[in-house]
């Protein structure tokens, strides 16, 4: 795993045209702002649908509420794009960062959990005669979804407190020699 991380950081290298742009004064803060806006769209789209499945606003048909999901997906896409820019620019700050590993883990849980919803509950929940109250299985999936995305936010916000520190006495661009 450690070899893989070193290979990944070396391969990305942080020396590309994209990385050069990201190191200008405004690019990084701008991408961060977009990343936070994407977060809000994700919670506003996916989180509100999860809350509906859990029983908030029962009089809104679930199928109607599902039309907010594309907003969440758009937010997620914005965050994948901006997140990729961060990694391409400072790969070692993420690849070696335990908080980033947790963030990826929660993203995986959120993704698999969403796939489970569409594979197991979609037809029951969206049938024309479906009851306004979601079945128990869909509620469990919705609760896991909310927890997973809150976990993703937490992992992202804590990144900065788990950054690998620079090598003592050495000025290497990448933290290969002293990484964990």
């Amino acid at each position: 795993m450690h070899d893989f991380q070193i290979w990944l950081v070396t391969t990305i290298g942080g020396r590309s045209a994209i990385a050069d742009v990201m190191r200008t004064a405004w690019a990084w803060p701008l991408a961060e702002s977009l990343h936070f806006l994407g977060l809000c769209m994700l919670i506003g789209g996916v989180g509100s649908f999860d809350l509906r499945l859990l029983g908030v606003a029962r009089r809104i048909p679930i199928a109607a509420m599902h039309r907010f999901i594309p907003i969440g997906l758009l937010g997620f896409a914005i965050n994948i794009a901006t997140g990729t820019l961060f990694i391409l620019t400072e790969p070692d700050q993420y690849i070696y960062n335990p908080s980033f590993h947790f963030k990826l883990m929660f993203m995986t849980i959120g993704g698999l959990n969403a796939a489970t919803f569409y594979l197991t509950s979609y037809r029951r929940v969206f049938a024309p005669d479906a009851p306004l109250d979601a079945p128990r299985r869909a509620k469990v999936i919705a609760a896991i979804s909310l927890c997973a995305w809150i976990g993703v936010i937490t992992g992202g916000r804590l990144l900065t407190f788990y950054r690998p520190s620079a090598c003592e006495g050495q000025q290497t661009e990448l933290l290969l020699t002293c990484s964990p």
């Binding site: 994700l42 109607a64 509420m65 937490t154």
Partner: protein, 175 residues
């Protein structure tokens, strides 16, 4: 008016020193995390309401979205409390930076817009009967403008908030 003595006093308090000095993840990192989560729910739900007004998810009865308001407000108050704690941690950093006042202004305007939108689509309706049924409001161009203004304010508030990390002049009184 020189507010430095006041800022120095805030920074000398036990609470301020715990927030920024404690190695506990429940101190500064935890408060910052709660601030991001509260933002997600407050801005996310407000955005969903605005987008519904602008035509997204047209089959969602607009009035029924009021059931999400308690979660929106919970997110807002979580951020008011966590924001005050962050301010107590770094009063000089925030209060000597004009961008911080811009952020607060944009949030105040966004919340005022939310209250106006709420009044129009969730509550009062002259001559309406039972209180359990929200009004079925016609989406006027005025309402659309309020929704657009809300989205603009939230975008600005988040951008200003993020820029706080890059635009401050002084971190603490010592610096």
């Amino acid at each position: 008016m020189n507010i430095d003595p006041f800022l120095a006093w805030v920074e000398s308090t036990t609470l301020s020193q715990w927030i920024i000095g404690s190695p506990s993840m429940f101190a500064f990192p935890g408060i910052l995390t709660l601030h991001a989560i509260g933002m997600g729910f407050a801005v996310g739900i407000s955005t969903a309401i605005d987008l519904r007004i602008l035509g997204v998810a047209p089959k969602v009865p607009l009035g029924e979205l009021r059931r999400f308001l308690p979660i929106l407000w919970a997110g807002f108050w979580l951020n008011a409390v966590s924001g005050v704690l962050l301010l107590i941690g770094y009063p000089t950093k925030a209060l000597t930076n004009p961008v911080f006042y811009l952020k607060l202004t944009l949030i105040a305007v966004a919340m005022a817009l939310l209250v106006r939108i709420s009044r129009q689509v969730f509550y009062e309706r002259t001559g309406s009967g039972g209180s359990s049924d929200p009004p079925t409001t016609a989406i006027t161009s005025r309402l659309r403008n309020l929704a657009i203004a809300s989205l603009v304010c939230w975008t600005g508030a988040i951008t200003a908030g993020r820029l706080l990390a890059y635009t401050y002049h002084r971190l603490t009184q010592l610096h």
